[in-house]
């Protein structure tokens, strides 16, 4: 695990240069300038855009403001997806900066979850971590942790504190010496070409005859349509900081 520390840091500190522009039909008292921000790949839009919100609300009247939401080229952005996932899925072939449009009206109820507070983001994040641990350790590790450990995971993410986060997350990434890996690999495969939001299935890291499975084995098994590597697909592992670890361990 210590060998991969550099990789873990690179994943954690990944950033996407983004330009936020107010939607043209929003009512403003004066011109709204675009707002530039480096977004952390491993975080969530509604967690890191307080400054964006404040910037645009300065030129709007209170009565014209309701829940903020973001859109890229007409597609509402799901705040509950990690930022890096959204970018890779929708905008990775476009030139930087990533151009996101900001809305304060007409919340798309059929497409987006509401995000009334930071507590909702925390609950969502923790539920992802718990689900991943259900797959990795039958929830034993996450359930044995105290509430303060759970809180530390969240605070680490919220405050961009790598060491604080990994002090707890490393326990979630361990497995007993006699096992060859986790019980099941927590993964989701996102594709733009499918109606289904993601593919998630049970997949063991080791085959019945003791061979370590590769990423290719996983893809062949759960996503056989993605035959050629040039096809547009993206693999994202829960929790997000496992992605590069996964690639390096199994390819």
């Amino acid at each position: 695990m210590t060998d991969d520390k550099d990789v873990l840091r690179d994943v954690w500190f990944g950033r996407i240069p983004t330009c936020f522009t107010l939607y043209q039909d929003e009512i403003t008292e004066r011109e709204a300038e675009p707002y530039y921000l480096l977004l952390p790949r491993v975080s969530y839009l509604t967690l890191v855009t307080d400054k964006v919100k404040k910037h645009f609300q300065k030129v709007m009247r209170q009565e014209d403001i309701s829940e903020i939401w973001f859109e890229y080229e007409g597609t509402p952005l799901k705040w509950h997806y990690p930022i890096g996932l959204l970018f890779d899925l929708l905008a990775s072939s476009s030139a930087l900066p990533w151009n996101i449009t900001v809305h304060f009206k007409s919340f798309p109820e059929k497409d987006l979850l509401h995000c009334p507070s930071k507590d909702v983001i925390e609950a969502h994040f923790m539920s992802c971590v718990k689900e991943a641990d259900a797959l990795k350790h039958k929830s034993q590790v996450i359930n044995e942790m105290q509430k303060k450990d759970h809180k530390q995971l969240w605070m680490g993410l919220q405050n961009d504190r790598f060491d604080q986060f990994w002090a707890i997350n490393r326990k979630l990434m361990e497995y007993p010496a006699e096992e060859n890996g986790f019980r099941y690999i927590p993964f989701r495969i996102y594709q733009t070409t499918t109606e289904r939001p993601f593919i998630q299935k049970l997949f063991r890291p080791v085959s019945t005859d003791g061979q370590l499975h590769t990423l290719g084995d996983l893809l062949k098994e759960v996503c056989p349509s993605a035959v050629a590597p040039e096809e547009m697909w993206f693999t994202w592992v829960m929790p997000k900081s496992d992605v590069l670890m996964f690639y390096l361990s199994y390819c």
Binding site: K78, E109, K110, L112, H114, V120, R196, K201, R204
Partner: protein, 264 residues
Amino acid sequence: MEEDEFFGEKTFQHYCAEFIKHSQKIGDGWEWRASKDCSDGYMCKTHFQVKNGTAMSHQGTSAHVQTFLPVEEAVDPPLDDFEVTETTTAAEVIKYEYHVLYSCSYQVPVLYFRASFLDGRPLALKDIWEGVHECYKMRLLQGPWDTITQQEHPILGQPFFVLHPCKTSEFLIPVLKNSRKINRNVNYITSWLSMVGPAVGLNLPLSYATAASQEEGNVSGQGKKRSLHSTFPVAEILGLFCIWLCPPCWTQHFLSLLSPLTGH
């Protein structure tokens, strides 16, 4: 992928199929929807309800009242059994959709639901709370974010409300354990849905409980006939009653108390 828990995906699909068979017999409106790639699917039901409606009872359903009104756009089942008491404006009629999916992470069924007015406006979580029976409110209010949350439907990709699955096995495992000990058929979906459904306005007619015990081709592989006495689903019927009377957290306790009665 082996299914080493009580409740693998194949078992889930089997119990759903049995459940739907009975639903079709009594016109309860449940159906199976396969995902586009057909690798999996879910069970779903739509019903319409008047918000803050007047009390009306229907034979065979729970003691708690629900008001159904035949509206022009009503989908199956046909509501011929209900009296028309009064007409109401479209804004007061709420469409509820219930979806039962399988969580491979927790290896339990999960209840997804959403509600909207007929003009498409969705109900917010706080509006859903108002529809929750008093009996459940206290327990659910203690930690709404832990129990009912808005989440993305894993097959449709749209926002739904979800009853959190990680607590499901706590109250379901005793039911399964008891039934296996006495070698009796239990439709896991019937038991589970009868426990969690009422908290969010979904009730099951009693006939589901008796149907579960009479089904053939059971999972345990036993095909022998049994006397009426031993098939009487005490646990399920009492389970259904205690749902109507007690919060879900009491149900597990109540069902474990029943084990001497079920004779294991």
